[in-house]
Symmetry: C2
Subunit: 613 residues, 2 copies
């Protein structure tokens, strides 16, 4: 392809809103243009790389027997009402009403559409397992789209859904998908961090996220310096640096030599820092007690203090009984933070948030800052496991300007529940090997889940087993964001001059730069292009009337892996020569003109084979 | 591919709403399923054929140097406001407001998006011509979607847009596109009728539609039995079977021997049929006069009778002056019909419709049924060219139960305008060769237009020429509906048993049907599959445990071009044999097992080459 015959509007300047390198480089290299906030058009160069990502994803899906289908992008709203997500999905779901009043969504994900399609065809166990996927346009109405195609409103996702008669069958497909995902990212030249993650709004359990490191990542990851443990902070656990005493008796025994709890005046001391200063001690000697409000609590609260009057209800006949709202006191060692996602998971709540000041006063009988587990009766106390090791602590005394000294777990209070709800952070110990954990910011490129029966039950899928008995199938779902994957390749492969493409995703493998596209040089450049293309190599020839410096700068910017410079001086040598350089290298290498094409083709094919291995 | 490893839910029954053969067969062959009215999902078999159409379109676009890009499906509404189509597009445009109140459209076509992208990059004449295309999802909110994917709400269109510095440059790309379209349809095995068509709501002039014959087609076409004239009835002209007398003087001269016009009583006679019966003559002796209301008339009406008081206005600074509403009397020979699209084009009106009974009474002074050109002063008379040949006609006399006899054009009335506004119909004469015209119903698969400056002007595109002067580029637009094209292939290639695919679009080229998938037969079938696939042939192997009759019925239904039946009896012959049959043929042919794969592969490749020639 001649550069003047395609459309690659490269730029020197950087758009003001492009804060990450992939956004800057995709824009400057003429790969994308912005149509509007969060809406990007791929130009020819960008689309070529995008299609290479798409084909790798397609090949790997086909290789594990997943079948490609193509539902619509605009999906009937009624399907989302069946699953319940019309209500629960929030405002990121783009809802549309057409001229006849029919409601639609512009699909952000397709559990409903795939479940509905399979529901209509499924009758026998013999049809299962069934694994279907699409590579299609999605829309999520991000309030603040940013980072270019890394977090756009419209994007392309490969989403697969599988249906099974048993957990074992789901496990197998889930494992196949995990392997396929690892291959996809490897073939793209990407270093991913597979992370066991909370499946969040998608529901279900058993899931793995595929993350790439990113300074602007949405996720905080905890990784072990000694082993390959990796977890999203939302779920991360750590090895304890103490022996927990799980029973109240053990706690009481450990407090044998602790003086009795004693109230102390702490005028105007509310925060842990103020307490540390006032008592001249460290935050780890305090029991911090926070009051949380939890919504839609599924956990059984019959035996929980202060919950006697709570009413339970079902939002639909098939959904579990929940309490719309309940309050909890969460006690944790003073140097640690409560992880609200872990807390919500323990409580089986849809959401938890710190209670209002008024609620705190009502429930603790004291202003904000003086809550503590001792004597707290109006609500259940959930103690983080760290509290069980504390037998001589300071805590709030449920009255203004008053704290307790010498508080001991098991002697002075017995929590309703003990659980791990701490936020793990850098410096904590790996739960697997005890190594030191460190933090990284990450972006999610892919996610595989075992959804279980959430959608198949809500949408009433069923099949008959060998004996004619009806069952609900179990389900998995598996997504990869294509735009993000492409942008992440650039995030990982670039330098100050531009992109450095892996051959598998490069829009072209070779860029031919004639010093002046004229006479013998033109002929030699054209011949090289033809020879390489015949060998299946993608070639871009810079046939512009520009100075060599401009051409070299653009070549570096758009980052084609191999560059061949064709110039008069080298061509008149005997034998004639051309200069070849990998984008990563600084120095050109003189190669015989007649050998340039076959040698380069072989090299590129070897690199491709290595990536695809 | 083994049939049990893919997902092809064939059906015996026909869905009630499937009235055309492609809809019935795509549904029965398990190619598509309905998600909702006008929203269809392609299942694996359908998607394979769909992708083959897509690839043919892509190859032919690339071959003429059009560049693929990928804008979003959801497009900012502000772009549609710039072009003015936010207002004019009507309710088929799916408009969406997001959570922040920003307005979007789900793209039905992309003149705006492409113009906006090019606008931002265009500076110099050196960047032109530029031809860009996308193959992407579109949505049109059809009130009554029907005929399966032939008229769905969501569909995939290839739409290309080109930008030029001159008409000559636009002409060249337009011609290239026309040739590419002919090749696309030929490669798909489709017989298309290229038709010069009115470009309708798209604006601009110079356009060609690519139609396929269809009993449920949206378009009526007129074709010549003797030459290759083909026109949409919306624009069709015909050779006149009389000598028109264009000047009033000529009309008056021709009426030299006609008695003076005379009023006759015609009690309760209003329709042409009633008049024919009453006067015992034929409808061609009458001048039929219809009163029309026209909207947004751009034509200059300064000199038109009764239009003195009409006000003109501009809907935007750049748009032409128009009259919001004006009335016209249209006179035509009594055996002919007025073509409202031709009439609107002559009047440069956005729309014309018959006036209300009240308007007719107000403007003609008589009840409905008694309008005529003689003495009509309150509105302009537009005479179809047929009226100029009438020098002894009957017409309404602008009073209840009264008509004129002996009316002569040029003597008794002089119309404000003479124009061709008749509806051409079967039996009329070809305007090119005089041959007999006949009618067909057709569906539009593709359309190429010269848009001119409509969008580039409204959206303020400009470039500098060699001397640094600013110009607006001219523009072309070129669309093909992929779903329709695929459905049309089935419409053209089927029989009572199912589809008969051309090899280029067939989901698989060869279907292997083992009589019983077991033992030696299984081995032979598997070997044939592997051998053919190695030769680049797409193979489907029916490995189901079904009776041969069921397998044969499904093979006929899904219409794979070649079928190989592998059975015990033929395999034990010396040398072993298999049966090969083309889907169109009735009889199997015995072929040596060892030669089956190479012979068939060669045949299929030859057929593909012939289609692609």
């Amino acid at each position: 392809m001649k550069l003047t015959k395609t459309f690659v509007p490269t730029l020197r300047e950087v758009p003001a809103d492009a804060v990450i390198v992939s956004h800057r480089l995709m824009f400057r290299a003429g790969m994308i243009r912005k149509l509007s906030n969060g809406l990007f058009a791929y130009l020819p160069l960008g689309l070529r790389s995008f299609r290479k990502v798409e084909n790798i994803v397609r090949e790997e899906m086909n290789a594990i027997g997943s079948l490609e289908i193509k539902p619509t992008v605009v999906i009937p709203g009624e399907l989302w009402k069946e699953s319940g997500r019309w209500e629960t999905m929030g405002e990121s779901l783009l809802r549309v009403k057409n001229r006849l009043g029919a409601e639609f969504v512009v699909s952000p994900t397709a559990e409903e559409a795939f479940s509905a399609l399979v529901r209509d065809e499924l009758s026998s166990y013999r049809q299962l397992p069934l694994s279907l996927y699409q590579i299609n346009t999605k829309y999520r109405d991000e309030i603040r789209p940013r980072y270019g195609v890394m977090r756009g409103r419209e994007f392309v996702m490969k989403d697969a859904y599988s249906f099974h008669t048993s957990d074992e069958s789901l496990d197998k497909t889930y494992e196949d998908m995990g392997r396929a995902y690892r291959r996809i990212f490897k073939r793209c030249g990407l270093t991913v961090i597979p992370v066991k993650a909370d499946s969040g709004a998608m529901g279900g359990s058993g899931s793995e996220e595929f993350m790439v490191e990113s300074a602007v990542g949405d996720n905080t990851l905890l990784l072990c310096k000694s082993c390959d443990y990796a977890a999203n902070v939302e779920k991360a656990e750590c090895k304890l640096d103490f022996s927990p005493r799980m029973s109240a008796e053990a706690g009481k025994a450990a407090a044998a030599s602790t003086p009795p709890a004693k109230k102390i005046d702490t005028p105007n001391v509310r925060t842990i820092d103020e307490l540390c200063a006032f008592l001249k001690t460290s935050s780890s000697s305090f029991i911090k007690t926070l009051i949380y409000k939890a919504l839609n609590v599924e956990l059984d609260l019959k035996a929980a203090p202060g919950c006697e009057g709570l009413k339970k209800h079902k939002s639909s006949p098939d959904s579990p009984e929940t309490c719309a709202e309940a309050f909890f006191a969460v006690a944790i060692r003073g140097d640690l933070d409560v992880n609200e996602i872990k807390l919500a998971a323990r409580l089986k709540a849809s959401e938890v948030a710190l209670a209002s000041e008024a609620d705190v006063e009502r429930l603790t009988g004291a202003p904000l800052g003086f809550a503590g587990p001792v004597g707290l009766t109006k609500l259940p106390v959930l103690a983080d496991i760290t509290v069980t090791a504390m037998n001589d602590a300071v805590s709030g005394a449920l009255a203004k300007d008053l704290h307790y000294k010498h508080v001991a777990y098991g002697r002075d209070f017995s929590p309703w529940m003990i659980a791990d709800v701490r936020t793990v952070k850098a410096g904590d110990r790996c739960p697997l090997c005890g190594g030191e954990l460190y933090e990284k910011k990450g972006n999610e490129l892919g996610h595989i889940f075992k959804l279980g029966y959430k959608y198949t039950k809500a949408m009433k899928l069923s099949y008959l087993d060998e004996s004619g008995k009806s069952h609900i199938p179990t389900m998995g779902c598996y997504g990869i964001g294509l735009d993000r994957t492409l942008a992440s390749v650039i995030e990982e492969h670039n330098d100050e001059d531009g992109i450095i493409w892996p051959v598998s995703i490069a829009p072209y493998h070779v860029m031919i730069v004639p010093i002046k596209y004229d006479g013998k040089v033109k002929e030699a450049a054209d011949n090289l292009e033809a020879a390489l293309e015949k060998m299946g190599i993608d070639v871009l020839l810079d046939d512009r009337e520009e100075r060599p410096g401009v051409k070299f700068k653009d070549a570096d910017l758009i980052g084609i892996p191999y560059r061949i410079v064709v110039g008069d001086k080298n061509l008149i040598q005997a034998p004639p020569k051309v200069e070849i350089k990998h984008r990563r290298e600084k120095e050109n290498k003189l190669v015989e003109y007649s050998k340039a094409a076959p040698e380069l083709a072989e090299k590129i094919k070897a690199e491709l084979a290595e990536l695809n291995r």
